[in-house]
Structure formats: structure tokens, C-alpha cells
């Protein structure tokens, strides 16, 4: 029964092959659009997720600044260093804080042999590795004694290694920064892009004391640009934010009501906002793609209605020799479903190809999951049934005599 019907559906579709192909094209475009958009959307979400993970979890950044000078000119955060290494040490003492890493940074030229590379130099303490959840691919991190004695040692990010050393092993080699030699202690593991698109691996870490005294030179000795703070848990974040504010206001002797000379930002909340934005974006992409699938479905319905009208006489003949309503219904429904499933198959193939092409040509990160392919299949079949139903039912409801008399 079903094989005979499939065969008949095939014959009918083959007889109108151009029309069938054009109808299918609507589904092909719809499905491939859904696949591509989902791949792009998921890719963006995954990228954001990776950035968030590479940033470290439950993070605050305490920036110095936000003061007002007498004339009322407000300087940007970090413009005037008001935070010190001892502030960071005090924050680290707070019970809900997992770690606090004071940092200073500047851009400088690093030289190895004949090669040089301009990169960001960050001076920090060993807490930085735990707070940022950053590991080493090779070598060892600097120790507390390196920080105490401000030794000239450095840890290199992946990008710096690639540009200065190529395939050479950098550990134990000496690079020069601002004409001073630094021994490379280790290589940081790759972190990729940050949320704002900066290459996090394009960096050199040195002990904070080295940076303060020997490298960057500041008019305010012992000050830091920012302190990265990690709370012990996500739940503790509001309490930590409040505790940091209270502690620093007290330490900086800021009177009640006066403006703070520092600024606490919840990086994790910002990251979550970014993740939500991407999620909304991929949802929008999905909706737009779904509309083209809907248009494809309407195309199927249109053609099936034409087909039913054209084949009214055939329906009459079939009914006269014993076809029941459901036989006629099934026959037309089957045609609509076959068109949508074949269209979907081609659409999936084109969609995957398109997504991979986008990745190869435009360097867009895409993620193709089995789930999105299954979703496309389910939706395509549902579209076929939904839009095939009405024309098929119209056919099945015809009175045999009317169908037979139809010219």
C-alpha cells in the first residue's frame, strides 16, 4: 500500500519535475538558512562562552581613579593611581575572597635576537594565575621571592612566543625589554580572544615589583593600575563587592558621602550580559531563518493546491474504483512530505557546506550540531505535513461525481 503510494507520488512528482524542483528549492533555501544561522549563532555563543571561561570566574576588577580634581575635570578610571599593592593584600585577607592580584601594565617592545614584537607588559603577583585561571604550557611561574627581590623574569603569552621564537623553545632564553634582559621562565597556555576582541595571548607577565621599579617607572611608587579579585563563589559576589568598597573607603580615608577614588566592576556580570546578547542575536538569526522556511512551506501548499485542482479528475477516477478519503489524503500528504524531506536533505547538505564555507572564507566561527540538523528535519517534516494537510484534505473531501465531471 505505502510502496504503491510512494511510487505514485514519485510518478506525479517526476511528471512535473521543474515545478517539483522549484517547490523543493523553497525548502532547500529555508533549511539551509536555518542550518547556517544556527551554526553562526551557536559559534558566536561558544566563542563568548570560551572568552568568559578564559577570563576566570566570579571576577571583579578594582580600578583606580574616578576622582574629581578641584576644577571639576573628571579623569577616567585608572588615570590617577590610587590603589596600592597593600590594598590588594588587604582585599585578599577578606574571608569571601579567593584571591586578589594587583596589576600594572604598559606597552613595550620585546626583543629576541633579530626579532622584535610590541606587546603588553603586565606586572602582577602569583595570585594572578589563580584569579585568571591561567596555566602554563611550559616552565614555571615566578615565585614570591622573585616578587620580593624584583628579579628580571618573564612569562610569555602564546602570541609573543610565536612572534619572537617561532618554533624555538623560549624557556631559559633571555629576551630584552626596554634594553634590560629578562629570563623567560615559562610559556602561558593559550586563552584566545577576550570579550572585547583583544588577543589575550599577546602579553608578557613580569613580577609586579619588577614592573614598578625597573620597567614602567611611576611617579607614585607602589601604586597599581587595577586589582583583579576573585570571589569564592558566585553567591558571594554581592557581599564581596560591598566588602571591597567598605574596606577601600576605610583604607583610603574617604569620608561618608564623598566620592570613591576607585571603581569596582563586576566582570562576570558584564560577561553574562555579553552572553545574553549573543543568545538573543542567535535567536533573532534563527527566527529570520525560520521565516524563509515558512515561505518554503507556503510554496508547498500553493503547489499542492494547484496539483489537487489539476488532478481532480484523477481523484474522481480513484474514488470511482474504491479509493477511500484517507487514501486520497495520504497520497497528497505523502507528496508534500516527500518534497519537504528531500528539500530538507539538500538544504542540510548545502547549509553545512555554506557554514563551513563561511568559516573558511570569512573566518566566522561556526558550530554545527546533530541537534540543529535533527531540528531542521523535524521542522521540515512538520512544515510538509502542516502545509500539505489542507490541500490533501480538499482533495479527499471531493464528491466522486464532482471530481469525475471536472474538466
Amino acid at each position: 500500500m505505502i510502496t504503491a503510494m510512494l511510487n505514485e507520488a514519485w510518478i506525479a512528482m517526476w511528471a512535473n519535475r521543474l515545478r517539483t524542483i522549484l517547490t523543493m528549492l523553497g525548502m532547500v533555501i529555508g533549511v539551509s538558512a536555518v542550518i547556517i544561522m544556527q551554526a553562526v549563532g551557536l559559534g558566536a555563543q561558544q566563542q563568548v562562552q570560551e572568552s568568559i571561561e578564559s577570563m576566570g570566574s566570579n571576577l571583579f576588577i578594582v580600578l583606580s581613579g574616578a576622582p574629581t580634581s578641584g576644577g571639576g575635570v573628571r579623569m577616567g578610571s585608572g588615570a590617577i593611581p590610587t590603589l596600592t599593592t597593600s590594598d590588594a593584600e588587604a582585599i585578599e585577607e577578606l574571608p569571601t575572597v579567593a584571591g586578589a592580584a594587583p596589576s600594572v601594565s604598559d606597552t613595550a617592545q620585546a626583543i629576541y635576537g633579530a626579532r622584535n614584537w610590541s606587546t603588553q607588559i603586565t606586572g602582577t603577583t602569583s595570585s594572578y594565575f589563580t584569579v585568571r585561571n591561567w596555566e602554563l604550557d611550559a616552565g614555571a611561574p615566578f615565585s614570591d621571592s622573585d616578587i620580593r627581590s624584583a628579579t628580571r623574569v618573564a612569562l610569555l603569552g602564546k602570541t609573543v612566543v610565536d612572534n619572537l621564537f617561532g618554533d624555538e623553545n623560549p624557556v631559559g632564553q633571555t629576551i630584552r625589554i626596554k634594553n634590560s634582559p629578562y629570563i623567560v621562565l615559562g610559556v602561558l597556555s593559550a586563552k584566545g580572544q577576550s570579550l572585547n576582541g583583544r588577543d589575550q595571548d599577546d602579553t608578557i607577565l613580569v613580577p609586579i615589583t619588577t614592573a614598578q621599579r625597573k620597567l614602567l617607572g611611576s611617579q607614585f611608587a607602589g601604586t597599581v593600575r587595577f586589582i583583579m579579585v576573585q570571589a569564592k563563589s558566585a553567591e558571594a559576589m554581592p557581599a564581596v563587592e560591598k566588602a571591597i568598597n567598605e574596606l577601600l573607603r576605610q583604607r583610603h580615608r574617604i569620608r561618608e558621602g564623598a566620592e570613591s577614588d576607585f571603581n569596582v566592576r563586576n566582570l562576570t556580570a558584564m560577561a553574562n550580559t555579553a552572553a545574553e546578547t549573543t543568545a538573543v542575536m542567535s535567536l533573532m538569526l534563527g527566527i529570520i531563518a525560520s521565516i524563509s522556511l515558512l515561505v518554503g512551506g507556503i510554496g508547498i501548499m500553493n503547489i499542492m493546491l494547484v496539483s489537487v485542482t489539476e488532478r481532480t479528475r484523477e481523484i474522481g477516477i480513484r474514488m470511482a474504483i474504491g479509493a477511500r478519503d484517507r487514501d486520497i489524503l495520504l497520497q497528497f500528504l505523502l507528496e508534500a512530505i516527500i518534497i519537504s524531506i528531500i528539500g530538507c536533505l539538500i538544504g542540510v547538505i548545502l547549509g553545512i557546506a555554506g557554514a563551513l564555507a563561511a568559516q573558511a572564507i570569512a573566518d566566522i566561527h561556526v558550530v554545527i550540531t546533530l541537534g540543529s540538523i535533527l531540528l531542521a528535519f523535524t521542522v521540515a517534516t512538520a512544515v510538509g505535513i502542516f502545509f500539505g494537510w489542507y490541500p490533501a484534505r480538499q482533495a479527499a473531501r471531493l464528491r466522486p461525481i464532482d471530481a469525475l465531471r471536472f474538466q
Binding site: M1, T3, A4, M5, E8, I11, A12, A15, R313, E314, G316, I317, R318, M319, A320, I321, G322, A323, R324, D325, R326, D327, R399, P400, I401, L404
Partner: protein, 257 residues
Amino acid sequence: MEASPIEARQGDTRQGDTSPVIHVEHLYKEYISAAGVMPVLHDLSAQIMHGEFVAIMGASGSGKSTLMNILGCIDMATSGTYLLNGRDVNTMDRDMLAHLRNDLIGFVFQGFNLLPRASLVDNVALPLVYSKVTRDERVARAEEMLNKVGLLKYRDSHPNQISGGQQQRVAIARALINRPKLLLADEPTGNLDSHTGHEIMDLFSELNTRDGITIVLITHEAEVAAYAHRLVRLADGRVVYDGNPAAHLSTHTPQKI
């Protein structure tokens, strides 16, 4: 009632089975058109017994095609009773009617009504698709029927590749494949030349005498009606003659097209 069954004819394999296969009583059929209500059948009553071979004649508009469609369960009377094989058709739903058309009735049309895109063997096998017969059996039985009408060698041809007479043979093979008790034919020779028409009528006669299939056909050709054993003439939706074809045809000028 003037309808009188012809009993115990020669070669009737259903001798003794004298129950009516068709029993219509006070049948009315009206069409509602823009011009108003058009009466087509007017208080028509008749019985046709198992194994009969009946020709229905009548001028255009006499209601013979409408009657045929009602008998074939592809149209419904406005009022009146129709017992098919003893069962009241008016009480049946669409599925039951479809089952009757599939199982009990074979229908042959003037315009053949074959599916143009299907091969002859598929056309003949089509009714079996709707009675849940397996593919192998469908093909075997369709080939057997094609062989019976002498067209097995064209089994994979399409309807437009064979002549009108051959197409009508295929249509008859299709009508017979489910071994119906009743064969209804609406001007089966109307689109054929007289030689081919005689061949088709010979086939009908053989089906009636050898297989005992009850045959009701519409025609307006006297020489076609002469093959039947009983003639019913309609005029304005009423039966005006019911009896021996030879007696009637000799006294009436046969209608020509």
C-alpha cells in the same frame, strides 16, 4: 411493477440465485442550478437480478447517466431507496461506499478514465491498491486480467500509446480485477468505431454468460443494446419500456448519434 426478471437464462452460472443485486424504489434526483431546480429522475423504480445483462437507453437528458452514477455509488439520489445487494446505500458513510465501489462494482466509462501517467499493468492493478493486496499479487492478477483482454504484451505501455478500443479493454480489465458482482458501463462503445464496439460487446457477453457477472450498460446504439437480454428505456427520468430488447428495437427506429 413492470420490471420482470428474466429467469434461468442459458449459461447463467447463478441459476437459482434470484435475489436482486439492484433494487431501487421511488428514486428522485434533482439538480439545483442557477435556472432553478432541475428534476432528472422522477419516481424511478426497478430491480435487476443476479446474472442479468441490461441495456439502458434513452435520449440525452433522460437521466440514464445520472441513474448509472447513482447505481455505481458515485452519486446520491435526492430521495428514494437504493438497495445494493440487499443493503441500503443511503445509510452508508463515504468509506463504506468506497469499499462497495472497490469490491462489488466495476465501472467502465465512455472516456475510459485511465490514469495517463501509469502503465497499463499499474492501471489495471489500481483497485487492488485500495483493497490491501500485496504488490506481487497485484501484479500477478493485473497481468492475468490483461491477458484475458488480450493486451498482456502492452503491460508496460501507457494509455496514450494504445488505441481507443484497447484502452477500453484495459478499463474493463481494471473494472473486473476485484471480481465484482456488478459491472456498470456508461456508453462503453461511445468513443469507439463500430467494429471495435462489437469486440467490446462480445467481451461483455462472454463475461455475462461465462462468469455470471451482472452487467448494466448505457447505450444509444440499437445494435449495442441488442447484445443485452433486457432493455430499459428512460424518458424524462421515468421508465417507459422494460422488457425484451428484440421486440422493442424492431418496433422503434434505432437512435443514431
